[in-house]
């Protein structure tokens, strides 16, 4: 009888350790995924001054838009906290879109190799940000599921693991402008 009891205890302890370690590993992956988004945002901030310098000469009549882009970038860099960061990044996305729409009106710019290169870099950066968010959401969902399902939720409750926030698009009119919803869960 004693042996059976000890065996059950051993299995329970092993399960407990495995679940705890599994949760920690998932949480770290989610944190890392979050950092990756920051890395890509920084890449975007670094690219913008280059872009503006390249187009400035040809776009004499659009100084206003250029100033807006630079201002939006500086605000995005200065932003503190997840919610404000998300808002400022979205403003920046909008300003960049406007800039590229204007570039279409300048045939010299459109055929300029440097502008083409920068445009490709920015398209790529936008994609990277998108994919980094997607990766983060996938990992965070996995982590949240692990927190909620029985019986891992008991381990999670014991060590008060907190659920990861997901990136979400809340307003359907702003589908093209992703935002962070901090109110969920």
């Amino acid at each position: 009888m004693l042996w059976i009891f000890l065996l059950v205890v051993a299995v329970a302890v092993a399960w407990f350790i495995a679940s705890y370690n599994g949760l920690v590993s998932l949480r770290n992956q989610a944190t890392n995924g979050w950092k990756q988004i920051d890395v890509q945002l920084k890449r975007r901030h670094d690219l913008i001054p280059n872009l503006v310098e390249t187009v400035r000469g040809a776009m004499k009549f659009e100084q206003n838009t250029l100033t807006q882009v630079i201002e939006a970038r500086n605000k995005a860099i200065a932003a503190q906290g997840v919610a404000e960061k998300a808002t400022q990044e979205n403003v920046l996305t909008g300003a960049l879109k406007q800039l590229f729409a204007l570039v279409e009106n300048y045939p010299d710019l459109k055929s300029n190799q440097n502008v083409g290169k920068l445009q490709e870099e920015l398209v790529s950066t936008e994609n990277r940000i998108g994919f980094a968010r997607q990766f983060y959401n996938d990992i965070a969902t996995k982590f949240n599921t692990a927190l909620q399902v029985f019986p891992t939720n008991m381990v999670a409750g014991m060590f008060s693991f907190k659920e990861a926030e997901l990136f979400e698009i809340t307003d359907s009119a702003e589908r093209s402008v992703p935002k962070v919803d901090l109110n969920i869960k």
């Binding site: 995924g33 990756q36 890509q40 190799q113 083409g116 290169k117 490709e120 870099e121 398209v123 790529s124 994609n127 990277r128 994919f131 980094a132 997607q134 990766f135 990992i139």
Partner: protein
């Protein structure tokens, strides 16, 4: 089966493939000792074959990717070229989406659109495209192809395929030697064999058949292993881009340019996204095609992708 189970089963498959080949080498060496060796006390050929088998299995694991890259004349990307820079960006984007380290990128001077990935694990992987692919496909389609290859890398398909392609080559080589040895070999062993029973003769017959069939069997194995993996890589690639139709379009374009990819040889055919030989066999259905093709019929793959996008 999801990508994590696939990764696990691929690690096991690597061991299985390596063991099969080592045993095969052992068997071939054993036969040589039996026929030409200096008797059971000094099994030179068996030991030689065993060492050769283990060394080639290990070196294909460790250096096989370099071997494949140099045999296809793959060059590092030229980032000054806008098309290649764009591809580099696409690959970086997909490595972010897949959450794996950035693979090394290479390009082949070939007009036929094709791509393959190789390496021993996601930390040591290479992604190769032909120039034709960069010309024919637009950005979205390139992204789909990159995602397909990322899935091969992420679930360790590349490791199994790498072992297979180098070992298939090694088996072809050794059985070629063996055949030459048998048919040209000295007759001194003839007298020693006399007087032994039917069992020995039977063993000899099995040995001969093995040597003759080994290259064929190892190729069949490689084909079978690769075919099953394409659907999964298509599906998990589409999961990364969330855009299955782009991959369907890419496959259609690759298929319509049905010339052979000349720089990719037989041994690496099963690595590619579409059969580099442009063989009509891969388009057919039925058991012959099921056994002999390296890739599933491309229209079936397109069909599956369209179903994912609810347009079929």
């Amino acid at each position: 089966m999801n990508i994590y189970e696939q990764a696990l089963s691929n690690r096991r498959a690597t061991w299985a493939v390596s063991s099969v080949f080592v045993v095969l080498f052992l068997f071939i060496g054993f036969g040589f000792d039996y026929m030409y060796g200096a008797g059971p006390s000094v099994p030179i050929f068996t030991i030689g074959a065993l060492i050769l088998g283990i060394v080639s299995a290990y070196s294909s694991y460790e250096y096989g990717d370099r071997f494949i890259l140099s045999s296809t004349h793959a060059q590092p990307l030229d980032l000054e070229d806008p098309a290649q820079k764009q591809w580099q960006n696409v690959v970086e984007e997909m490595s972010i989406a897949a959450g794996i380290p950035l693979p090394k990128t290479f390009v082949i001077e070939d007009q036929d659109p094709n791509a393959f990935a190789t390496g021993k694990d996601p930390q040591h992987s290479s992604l190769v495209v032909t120039k034709g692919l960069l010309q024919v496909l637009d950005r979205d389609e390139q992204q789909a192809v990159a995602a397909h290859e990322m899935s091969h890398i992420r679930n360790f398909d590349i490791r199994v395929m790498l072992m297979l392609s180098v070992l298939v080559g090694a088996v072809a080589l050794i059985s070629d030697w063996a055949r030459r040895g048998i048919f040209r070999g000295s007759r001194r062993s003839g007298s020693r064999r006399q007087g032994q029973g039917n069992a020995a003769l039977l063993l000899l017959a099995v040995w001969l058949v093995t040597i003759i069939l080994a290259p064929l069997l190892s190729q069949l194995l490689a084909m079978c292993v690769s075919r099953k993996r394409e659907y999964l890589a298509d599906a998990s690639g589409a999961e990364l881009t969330r855009h299955p139709l782009a991959l369907a379009r890419a496959l259609e374009k690759i298929d319509s340019r049905n010339e052979p990819t000349r720089s990719i040889h037989q041994g690496t055919a099963h690595l590619c996204i579409a059969d580099p030989k442009g063989r009509p066999l891969n388009a057919k259905q039925g058991w012959v095609a099921d056994v002999l093709a390296t890739h599933p019929p491309i229209n079936r793959r397109i069909e599956a992708l369209k179903q994912m996008a609810y347009v079929s």
